[in-house]
Symmetry: C2
Subunit: 315 residues, 2 copies
């Protein structure tokens, strides 16, 4: 009864982006319907060198398996030529508790399910005609977000800003043209679909720079002490979607907006609720919409289950 073990390359080879997006979409719907048990995220912070650990886990009610995902981010790894993100995803039998599959994915499943959530958010919240895709940050997640947006929009024009201008200049995703902007505000001026992917501790996007008809997906602020969107920007939006009320009300952009007092919990909708009832999403081309994504264990469950079925793991 040894678990099957898979390395990153095997996992990458079987996962199709369109299929991952469908699995993540179905996961958010099930989550918001209360069909998934997701305990609070476990976390641990490291100071020297700086890094953090997240443990996300849970189970779809009645499922044959449950999933535990360990994700690490050690920000100085790239200086040694290593990926900043690492971790592993574990699938266990919900009948015996025994491990059935271990994915040594080096953080890939997390990166991919996170990008897939951005695509789902854009599918339901972005304006019909996307003029240009704005990207804040130029790391792995920025690349993957653009790559997966390919599945939900015809736009192939990217406008990017990153703190490290050299990385912004080097940014490329197959099939997309890329222009480098000189500020986050310049990205907002040029684009009506914007994705933020940074670990910034302070806001990068502000209310006064946002034009009607813009959608912003905020992916970076996934823990305490991180914030990409100013509170007033969230307050000014017409629709504020969160992947998980419990997580987004605790940390990240929406939590900061709530703390500011400019907006109340009732002003938020869960992404899964929008999927279930698209009338709760964008209904015209002038609304400003925001999706605040912190990453929910249901995404890890969905992508791990998909990988298991594509890799022939017997449960």
């Amino acid at each position: 009864m040894k678990p099957q073990i898979f390395q990153r390359a095997e996992i990458e080879a079987v996962l199709e982006h369109a299929e991952v997006i469908r699995a993540i979409e179905a996961g958010f719907r099930a989550y918001s319907r209360g069909q998934v048990v997701v305990p609070p995220v476990g976390s641990l912070a490291f100071e020297q060198p700086p890094g953090d650990l997240h443990i996300k886990y849970g189970v779809r009610r009645g499922a044959a398996t449950f999933v535990i995902k360990v994700a690490t981010n050690f920000y100085e790894n790239p200086r040694q030529g290593l990926s900043s993100s690492s971790g592993m995803v574990m699938v266990f039998s919900a009948v015996t508790g025994f491990p059935v599959a271990i994915f040594f994915d080096g953080g890939y499943l997390t990166e991919l399910r996170t990008a897939a959530a951005g695509a789902v958010a854009a599918k339901y919240l972005a304006p019909k005609h996307v003029r240009a895709i704005g990207v804040i940050g130029a790391g792995i997640q920025a690349h993957l977000q653009v790559d997966l947006l390919r599945q939900v929009t015809d736009c192939r024009r990217v406008v990017i800003w990153a703190r490290d201008e050299a990385k912004a200049r080097a940014f490329q995703v197959r099939g997309f043209t890329v222009e480098v902007a000189d500020s986050p505000a310049a990205v907002l001026a040029a684009c009506n679909l914007v994705v933020t992917t940074t670990p910034s501790p302070t806001p990068l996007l502000w209310a006064n720079a946002v034009k009607p008809g813009t959608h912003i997906t905020a992916v970076g602020a996934d823990g305490f002490g991180k914030q990409e969107l100013d509170a007033a920007l969230i307050a000014a939006a017409d629709i504020r979607a969160v992947d998980s009320r419990s997580q987004c009300f605790e940390y990240g952009d929406s939590a900061a907006a709530l703390k500011s007092g400019l907006v109340t919990e009732q002003a938020f909708v869960e992404l899964g609720e929008v999927i279930d009832d698209p009338a709760r999403g964008r209904t015209d081309d002038v609304q400003v919409t925001i999706a605040d994504l912190t990453g929910v264990a249901v995404q890890d469950i969905q992508i791990a289950d998909l990988a298991c079925s594509l890799l022939g793991v017997s449960q």
Copy 2:
């Protein structure tokens, strides 16, 4: 940079009981000195079939590695000839976040570090002359507790009670004589060192059955809804040691005693504090002492670190 993977037999082959006990003892001392970061335990309960999952993790301040332990208990597994406990222990670099070792130990490291904690508790709290070792429950943990007590007492006489009398009759540990008692109270009557190892939801040991000079180590109640010792028994004890204040005040025997109002938080001492200052432990042969053990991540850290060094894992 793939992690080294070890199976249960390899781990069992290198771990000496006496060495494990030393490592666990040092771990409790470090924990109570505040030298270990231990976030709250993650957990998930399953109903059909009944089971539970615990995730314990943490890091010794300044250590080169951190540890995450996943432990499952699915109580109907033995009906299919499977162990009820399973899980895995993961060691990660605290410099890069990358996994360095994975122990597919089938729950062995958890069972062993739990039994080692019982030996440490007995070392500091049991009376000098142990007349007989009382055991409540007849599972894996009951066997291991007795086996490891060998390291800290000369007594080789066991008196056991278990709900399943056939299991009690079949109980044996090399070098020990075993008598079966007809009730938990009869165990208390015959023994002055008693270990409880059951997942009982209601108390099995009561204050009126405890004689002066008894030490009780309660190992079974490691989560919500479990209790082996009556609140009045804990209240009546002269010394109440807990492996972790934060955990024991939240669930298990000590939490139930606190909830009863018969005893206050100030009446408890941590096992690590007793190790640091044995004067806080048993000081005569008539005191009644209790050690309430819920299992702390520092034990998982210590035993995983020991296994890493004995197995030559490079960090």
